[in-house]
Amino acid sequence: MKFLFLLTFIFFSVKTWAYPNFIGHGYTSCLNCHYNPAGNGPLTDYGRAVAATSISSGALYPEKWTEEKVAYTSGFFFRKPVQDHVRTQINYRGFQLVRNPGSKSSETKQWINMQADARLILKFGQNDRFVTIINYGFSPQPKGSQVDMSEWRSREHYMGYRFTPKFGLYAGLMDKAYGLRIIEHTSVSRTSPQATQNDQVHGVMAHYLGEKTEYFVHGFAGNLSQKEDVRMKGGSFMFERTVADIHRLGASVQQARNNYLTLTTWAAHARFNLKEGSALMGEIGQAKKTADASILDKTSRYAFLQTYLRPWRGVYFLTNIEYYQDDISKEPYFVRWGPGLQYFPIQRVELRADVYNTRNFSPDSSNKDSWMYLLQAHLWL
């Protein structure tokens, strides 16, 4: 049973929801658009307006509509909020995943409901300095699990208070402050440090936002809805610094452990603003995993590169390039290329197509690349 739990932690399918590539639009800090200063989760009113205007294509709106009018329709169910304290949001994301496309013997197709969240936001005070976030949603079938473990659960619930515009404290269930919170849930940069879709933890996070620097310190006691022996308790630290006015460099460290596993990770990352929505992001890191029963003692190394180019408003060409060496004491590693197209035809709708090509490098064998593609729809109200 303990081994099953360990496996679950190692192979849990993951997903986070943030768009750090929007540094290409000039947004260096996540706090501009998200209630959570490290990104992910519910959008602020401003964030929804940005999604409706700068991010989404304007081609489907009537010509007479001004950007201001579009921004006013970005509220829940297209309405301009009539009061300041309560916000509700609904999010859905699903995709068709096709593995080994074109192969008569091994092609598989699967529709995955990856996200179905209902969110409640309570906010009070000047500049919404006191917030309460409740996010209840669907947790899909974990990757590698043979039994149905999908469930509806609290994805996050926390309260935050900003003592000053520069400093805030947040307490409750939330994502770990660690690395680039990219949207690609199977990315090695999220799975390797266990900082992804279902890795939320109960804890307290302090956030400092300076002129050029941003710091996060997160102490956590694991996810309290899990059995105590599998809760990952520990802490993480992340900082980012603005360089050359528009780019960001950052680093993260984390240590966490439960009764079976000790996880020590570090990462360095960079986000470059290439203007008009184009961006280049990268992260390199290592994760050392040690199991007390000596069944596991290895250090994994990864690199992640994500490139965004925006030829037209609402359209992004992206490529994810990932490198992963499961055990740095051994030679094999893989490189995964994922060119894709992301399209926001109108506010509240994101369509995306990705192709993934994985190539294994090993001194002992050489195989054909593996392929898969996914077609994704993301809707929000």
Binding site: F272, L274, K275, E276, G277, S278, L280, L305, T307, L309, R310, P311, F317, T319, I321, V335, W337, P339, N357, R359, N360, F361, S362, P363, D364, S365, S366, N367, K368, D369
Partner: protein, 343 residues
């Protein structure tokens, strides 16, 4: 005596009839007719009111250069003294009191600026003439600015003209070149042929590619030819099921070259771009034949054509680039990532 009177009457009546023809056509809003009357006899002694009507009609008809002449004529005729004084004040940097100048003169400057603005907006491509027209435009924009006349509208037109000139400049293609160094991985296919079975072999290579691209680009598009030499090595392994042979090689040297056309769309002011290439790839890699009798290695064609998706992120002169391609006639892929420098 009667004859004399008739001649004098005709002399006075003809200009009167002329004047009426301009005003009547203008009243009918027949701007074409007004323009025609002017063009038939431009040196005719039109009065001030007629000149204003003609100027308006010429603008309506889109004859901006003639309109410029008309407004200059009006200024010379009616306001030359003011005009010279204003130019002298601007030149010497004196403070200008706009109330010292008649409104009608300011309107004439406004017409001149608009006429030159419309001339500039009429250019579809960069031309030598634009420079002169733009200088005139800027001169009248400055005069209006000094006179504090319709400042908001002047600024708005200035922005429009600046954007149009930038657009024209952006359309100009210039020669461009760069060199690059890439980390590269590519696969090569071969077959292990035996007496009874043949097994597909995949060699996974990695190495470096040194290359250059030459082409033409404007602010939006880049057309080029890209070529480079590459070298590296790779390994291969196979178990020919049932044949009793296990074949493995590692660090097999490989080299080759790739050359082909490409096109990109430039998507940001940093000159980052996305596009495609169609490289022809020549790859040379010799796998050793197995020692067992009856077995041999049969390589696929050394020359292949690929289509690839190309992206470049520009940091001033230096850039980072990625390329992901697939051979047209087979399943294998080729990808690169590297740095380069533009010239």
């Amino acid at each position: 005596m009667v004859m004399m009177r008739i001649i004098l009457l005709l002399i006075f009546l003809i200009p009167s009839a002329w004047s009426q023809d301009v005003q009547e056509a203008f009243k009918r809003k027949d701007y074409s007719q007004v323009s025609e009357i002017f063009k038939e006899n431009p040196s005719r002694n039109f009065n001030r009111k007629e000149l204003i009507m003609i100027s308006y009609s010429l603008r309506k008809q889109g004859f901006y250069r003639q309109d410029v002449k008309m407004n200059v004529r009006l200024i010379k005729k009616e306001y030359e003294r003011f005009h010279k004084r204003l130019l002298a004040q601007i030149k010497s940097g004196d403070t200008i009191d706009s109330d010292d100048y008649p409104e009608a003169l300011k309107v004439l400057y406004w017409n001149l600026m608009n006429a030159y603005g419309n001339i500039i907006l009429g250019y579809d491509n960069q031309s030598q003439l634009i420079k002169k027209d733009h200088e005139h435009y800027l001169m009248f924009a400055k005069i209006l600015s000094e006179l504090e006349f319709r400042e908001g509208k002047v600024d708005k037109l200035n922005d429009k003209i600046t954007a149009h000139i930038l657009m024209l400049q952006n359309k100009i293609y210039k020669f461009s070149s760069s060199w690059y160094l890439q980390y590269m991985s590519w696969q090569q296919e071969s077959q292990l042929k035996g007496p009874s079975v043949s097994t597909n072999l995949i060699v996974t290579n990695k190495g470096l590619c040194l290359g250059t691209d030459l082409g033409y680009e404007n602010a939006r598009y880049h057309w080029y030819v890209d070529g480079g030499v590459f070298f590296g090595s790779g390994g291969v392994s196979a178990d020919a099921t049932g044949s009793g042979i296990s074949y493995q090689q590692s660090n097999v040297p490989a080299y080759g070259l790739k050359i082909g056309p490409g096109a990109s769309i430039i998507v940001s002011s940093s000159k980052s771009r996305i596009g495609f290439k169609i490289p022809v790839v020549y790859n040379s890699q010799r796998l050793t034949n197995p020692g067992q009798a009856g077995f041999s290695i049969q390589s696929e064609s050394a020359i292949s054509v690929a289509t690839s998706l190309y992206s470049r992120w520009q940091f001033d002169k230096w850039y980072f680039q990625t390329e992901f391609g697939k051979y047209v006639d087979r399943e294998a892929t080729i990808w690169t990532l590297g740095i380069g420098r533009s010239f």
